[in-house]
């Protein structure tokens, strides 16, 4: 009897209730989302507005700290009239090319050596000391060496970007290989996988989350490498624009170049996220809190 009543009580929970619940949750989620967006815009406008007002009314000295309108004007001039070393798009293209080349070479090298040393205990034991030493050197300093050795062209910037990227990716790939699940490797082995098949089908996929995480960070490093390289000596590039602006006490120019670099980094970050989503679509999606 009791069980019947219980069953009836459970059955009586109207399905419309559930639908209403889901509906309410959706509305709440949407409201929250629009609130977040609004607040972001409000903060941006407030900061830029206060900065601009401060500059206009003499609270902030625009000579040292620039002003939003000045930065915008500078970008506009660069876009319409070009920079002192040629059109703006050319500078961006050069910097981007150096960054991407350095990023690709560094990432591929880092992944390759990370997996090689991760899979080979003896090599890892021999080389680990040197890698630690190389990693502890402030690598930006190598930029001067590269410019002496490779000249003012693209090669020296690419080399600096490679060095910046390599160690980050290497460390992550190495750790990713080491963290690969023992049972999964044993499973593949017993299912009949050879050593190289294990590397390809178990080790690399399981190190992939680590590697992708490092790629996010290391693209920023590649950009730093390229810009610092240009800063130290170059004929073209956004880094050179910064150093030129610095030489003419043009704070707006420095900030404008910074904005351009930030936009570049964000665009590439977005592309990397897209690639990551495709590569690790097997990963569980986190449950949304409101759902």
């Amino acid at each position: 009897m009791n069980t019947q009543i219980d069953a009836a009580a459970v059955g009586a929970t109207p399905p419309s209730n559930e639908a209403a619940l889901a509906n309410a949750a959706q509305i709440r989620a949407r409201r929250r989302h629009s609130f977040v967006i609004t607040m972001r815009i409000v903060i941006l406008v407030a900061v830029l507005g206060l900065w601009e007002l401060g500059a206009r009314f003499g609270v902030i000295d625009p000579f040292f700290f620039a002003s939003p309108s000045g930065i915008f004007d500078q970008i506009w001039i660069w876009m319409t009239e070009g920079t002192s070393q040629g059109p703006l798009w050319q500078q961006i293209a050069v910097t981007l090319e150096e960054t991407i080349l350095g990023f690709l070479i560094g990432a591929v090298g880092g992944v390759f050596f990370g997996i090689l040393l991760g899979r080979n205990k003896l090599l890892a034991d021999i080389f680990s000391v040197y890698i630690k030493v190389a990693n502890s050197i402030p690598r930006v300093v190598l930029g001067s060496i590269f410019i002496i050795a490779l000249g003012l062209g693209m090669a020296s910037k690419v080399a600096l970007a490679v060095v910046m990227v390599f160690f980050v990716v290497f460390a992550n790939a190495f750790q990713g290989v080491r963290e690969a699940d023992r049972a999964m490797i044993a499973n593949a082995q017993i299912l009949g996988a050879s050593r190289s098949q294990i590397t390809r089908t178990v080790i690399i996929p399981s190190a992939m989350s680590w590697i992708l995480a490092s790629l996010h960070v290391s693209f920023g490093f590649a950009l730093v490498g390229a810009v610092v390289g240009e800063f130290l000596g170059a004929k073209k590039g956004v880094g050179l624009m910064i150093s030129t602006a610095q030489g003419t006490f043009n704070a707006n120019g420095v900030f404008a170049a910074m904005v351009i670099l930030a936009v570049l980094a964000l665009v590439v970050e977005f592309i990397i996220t897209l690639v990551e989503k495709r590569l690790v679509k097997w990963r569980p999606q986190p449950l949304s809190e409101t759902a």
Partner: protein, 341 residues
Amino acid sequence: MVDRNDGDMPRRAPFLRVPKYFGQLGHFGQLGRSRAAPNVHADQRRPNAAGVQHMLQTSPAAQSASTRIAPAASSDVAIDLSNVTRRFVTPDGKAMTALRDFTMTVARGEFACVVGPTGCGKSTTLNLITGLAPPTAGEVRVMGQPVSGIRPDIGFVFQTDALFPWRSVLDNVAAGPMYRGASRKQAYEKARDWLNRVGLSRFEKHYPHQLSGGMRKRVALAQTFINEPKILLMDEPFSALDIQTRTLMQDELLRLWEDSGASVVFVTHDLEEAVALADKVYVLTAGPATVKSVYHIDLPRPRVMEDIRYDPKFVEIARVIWEDLKQEVHIGQKRTLEFGH
């Protein structure tokens, strides 16, 4: 009553040769264990030969068994571990003995379970058979050959989830044939057949994280059985499942195994699971593990897991073996509390 399995030739246990034990280090099973249940016969390692004989002669079941105690033809033996000791060095440089003087024989088509207290070295037996862990002393033979490297006719089901999370269910099951050089088309065809057998055809495009624990185990079983193993090793495969799912999976396993004719070594700490599944149960001592006793389970097949645990015969067998295992569990527990490992 005992010989119900007699018509069932390939599955019948070749009884361990009792005299074989006498020369070995006697292990001290509790004496006075002559009131073995009629359908359990234990070959117990003890220095006292008369004790064993006595026991064998008191029960009618054992009597018929004694007629069967003859050296099994070597072609019938699938797995043979004789006097195996396995020591290894821990990362902090201490030598540990996981297994000492361990002897076990599994016939072709036989289902053997290994039970023992937690952490006694049960899983080591499986690693010896795969060749992933070489023995320090003694000999391991599989299908009559000494073990050297991983044999292609071995299947292994792990305790933890060893599926590849980045592969779909279909790709997970097809992994074995693909590793072994089958074309993608052949491998998929075979994998679809096996998915059908474990009832997961509708889920071939899913990823492991989208499945329940029981479904993931089904995938693991299909992944293992697709290679048609002659030796099937299972390391507490169902221990992470809830009890209802576990019962279903045990049924599933028995069904797949009965079609395959494989020899099974199934490691578990769950005695009831062991009795329900096995032809033969090995009770191990608290570590370093060695065989304490061997029991032959004469429950008729096919067995239905949902009902078997209420079968009075099952209950009696489980009770008898538990008496034996209990002591080792207590020793293991005490040691853990004293030494913290």
